[in-house]
């Protein structure tokens, strides 16, 4: 369960004397559903909202709590609970090959390098991408990269997955594959997307506009609201 209480995020203006830029304002939410989608136009505040959930961004006002842990005061614990998937997996993969990247994730939980490498290969096999274990991350397809990023995040068994537009760089086949993976995950998944069909797999949809949550409902009415907003 994630709770946001009267959250505001603002950044100072570039020019002195100008008002601060508000990225998100007046956000109070309890996020408990298994699948939650966040939709909104570019620059509406979707990414800011998601980044609040694992402490990548801290609120200027208000609090964000994950299973009761404050994202500011207890950031380390929160990041252990919340795995974050970026839009571009290439930005998230820190090592040169998939098996090495997952080994890096496992360093905090599995002792011994050989044990970690074996576990990393197992995890890649389970995900159906064992054949790319020693390939360069730069030589993988977008879908393979996204699956490696997801495997790397899941390796440390977080209880919540937050994904910022995970389908944006994927073709139709890889998007469908990712939808299947998300559907099978036991963890709570909160994701942002521009893909309204993908958003329909959620139990709840939040519509963000101008830094505010303007609709919060089941997929059909929330997405209808969003389509009207964008018309």
């Amino acid at each position: 369960m994630i709770t946001l209480d009267d959250v505001r995020v603002a950044v100072p203006a570039i020019r002195r004397g100008d008002p601060e830029k508000v990225l998100l304002d007046d956000v109070t939410l309890d996020l408990a559903e298994h699948r939650i989608a966040v939709v909104g136009a570019n620059g509406s505040g979707k990414s800011t909202l998601l980044r609040l959930l694992n402490g990548l961004r801290t609120p200027t006002h208000g609090t964000v709590r994950v299973h009761g842990h404050d994202t500011v005061a207890d950031g380390k614990r929160v990041r252990a609970l919340v795995g974050f998937i970026f839009t571009d997996p290439l930005m998230q993969l820190l090592m040169s090959t998939p098996v090495e990247d997952i080994e890096l994730s496992l360093r905090s939980v599995v002792p011994g390098r050989s044990g970690r490498m074996a576990r990393a290969r197992e995890l890649l096999d389970e995900r159906g991408i064992g054949h790319v274990a020693h390939q360069s991350i730069y030589d993988l397809s977008g879908g393979e990269r996204q699956l490696v990023a997801l495997t790397s995040v899941l390796a440390v068994e977080p209880s919540i997955i937050v994904a910022d537009e995970p389908t944006t760089l994927l073709d139709l086949r890889n998007r469908s594959a990712l939808e299947g993976v998300f559907a099978r995950l036991e963890q709570q998944v909160i994701f942002s997307t521009h893909d309204l069909d993908f958003a329909r797999i959620a139990d709840r949809v939040l519509v963000v506009d101008g830094g505010r949550v303007v609709a919060d409902d089941e997929p059909a009415p929330a997405l209808a609201h969003y389509v009207r907003l964008m018309a």
């Binding site: 998230q92 820190l94 040169s96 905090s108």
Partner: protein, 221 residues
Amino acid sequence: MNVHASLLGLYQPQDGWLFRLGAGWKYLLLLALTIPALVLWQWWFTLASLVLVLALLGSSGITVRRALNIGSMLWILLAILAVYQVVTLRFDQAVTSPGNVLLAVLASRMLTLTTSTPDLLDALAAGLRPLRWVRVDPDQVALAVAIMVRSIPFLLGSFAEVRDAARARGRDGNVLSLIVPAVVGAVAYAQSTGEALHARGVVERGSVDSADPPGRGSVRG
């Protein structure tokens, strides 16, 4: 960007003796191959060292073609170095200057082509352990080096993209139009990498193998 054509190459597990040799020994071998050539600065010694490093790589199944696949940018740089020395009539320097650069690159590739990043990371962290006395965390330094190695192909690829974009707009003659976007891109990339480290909690969680709790002795403020 094909990483195989990048400066340091990519580790692919094989059976050769260099693959089985401990990373620490390979670091020593790297120094033993490069330092004498740099100290002596003789064209014949540089050539002999180049042949030796290629022979060592070949003895572990890495072909001359793969060993020398260091990317066109570096070959151009080496050629410029050689031509400059020839123009200034220092013919022996035309071999030693680019030859020693190539030797250092090939000796480094001997390490990176035959050692997985986790092995490199652990060996480097072990070698840097005395730095704990000056409050430097060796695990974090080793991680920084590993990320640097992974970033080289990205940065080279991003420079090539900027060059193509400038060429498409007919501005490839303007050096500033190449440098500024490349630098801005590199800064954005560094920021993204920092965010990824933060999001994945890699630094703060540390390693279960580490003797000290994560963060202790760190250079972080």
